[in-house]
Amino acid sequence: MSFVDIKNVRKSFANVEVLKGVTINVEKGEIVTIIGRSGSGKSTLLRCINGLESIDDGEIRINGEVVHDKATDLRRLREKVGIVFQQFNLFPHMTVEQNITLAPTLTKRVAKGEAARKLAHEVLSRVGLEQKIDAYPEQLSGGQQQRVAIARCLAMGPELMLFDEVTSALDPELVGEVLKVMEDLARQGMTMILVTHEMNFARNVASKIVFMHAGKVHEQGAPAALFANPATPELRNFISSTH
């Protein structure tokens, strides 16, 4: 069984079916990039993976655990599955350190005080922002905020990280610094599923590309093959429209 096992997932909002039977497998250490036009269900799928959205049919397993099972302790599962949002969603009333250490100290994985600060320092060094440990989110640029959001995720010690269009809200000149952090993570062997419009990133870093169209997985495969020989006209159109 795969590390992340998404099987035939269906999901509707009101009367609109957004996911129409999606099946994707993600192995440990894989970088899976989901691409597709807006409205193709990419973000919804990501939100289903960590249980933010319910599903109507099918099954999602992470490390064998069924996400949408009533018996599953969703909170414990989420400590293993980090998610980074488009809008950063840092807590405005907390410093960078407090943002990072809130969850680890509340869930009692790390003691308050020295140990917590050390943890904050360590994850901030991984995104290159140690010197901003005492800043408030509003005092940081968008790119820096997004890197803090990634650090906040890392502090939980996740086994899987989800990235939901994390560079879409950024000014163009700030996109690079965030992508670089993600590349580093990929190189260190983190399992990642990301929704993105950054085609170069998808091409160079991903181990698998999933092209979603109209609520279904339309095509998937290794990036080189997929970009070179798109099998369907929809993917061909999509690729040419992003150039």
Partner: protein, 221 residues
């Protein structure tokens, strides 16, 4: 007619006692009212329609009838329910209920002012519902409602003067008492209004100071 404030000095202790009772009344109504308000706000999107209707009715009835009548009702009607409260306590109950109704609306708007994405971010970090409320929602929401909440507390301080109408001992009651002894109506009411004014001004200063200490994080605006 000449002004004569000298006679009022003899009643200094009465005035001080009145001030103390007025502040006590305000404090009780504020604390109890805010607790009611918080509870009501948390329950106002309850799953049960009956609970929502109950809270809605409470808020609308209190907000659309005069506080004076509410104080009379509590004072004269509670004995029928077997609860005979002294005037001060009855007034405290009535003002708490009054403050509660306005607080429900204030706290509700505060909770609504926190974007859903903040709550989701908390959930995704593995926090419990209570932890999300306590650490993610509470402080930013309080900051958003701080102006309306503090104005409401000042309105309660001023409104506590209505308690004098059921003979509860507070500042306004003192005023009526001193007036009946001295017949110096103009001076008495001028002085009492001035005392209220100073209390309101001091309270505003305290609120402004507390705001600066409690909400230090920078915001976009």
């Amino acid at each position: 007619m000449t002004l004569n404030f000298n006679q009022l000095w003899r009643y200094q202790d009465d005035f001080l006692h009145g001030i103390q009772m007025t502040l006590t009344l305000t404090l009780i109504a504020t604390v109890a009212g805010m607790l009611i308000g918080l509870l009501g706000a948390l329950l106002s999107n309850n799953r049960l329609p009956a609970v929502r209707l109950l809270i809605r009715s409470y808020v609308e009835v209190i907000r659309n009838t005069p506080a004076l009548i509410q104080i009379f009702l509590i004072f004269f009607v509670l004995p029928y329910a077997g609860l005979r409260l002294p005037p001060f306590e009855a007034a405290a109950v009535a003002l708490s209920i009054y403050m509660g109704a306005y607080s429900v609306e204030i706290f509700r708007s505060g909770l609504a002012s926190i974007p859903r994405s903040q709550i989701e971010a908390g959930q995704c970090l593995g926090l419990t519902r209570f932890q999300v409320f306590r650490h993610v929602i509470l402080l930013p929401a309080l900051r958003n409602i701080y102006p309306s909440l503090t104005s409401q507390i000042i309105l309660i301080l001023l409104g506590s003067s209505l308690a004098s109408q059921v003979s509860a001992e507070e500042l306004f009651h003192t005023a009526a008492f001193v007036e009946s002894r001295t017949y110096r109506s103009f001076e008495v009411y001028a002085v009492v209004c001035a005392i209220y004014f100073v209390m309101v001004l001091s309270l505003r200063l305290i609120f402004a100071g507390a705001e600066r200490i409690a909400f230090r994080w920078p915001t976009r605006r």
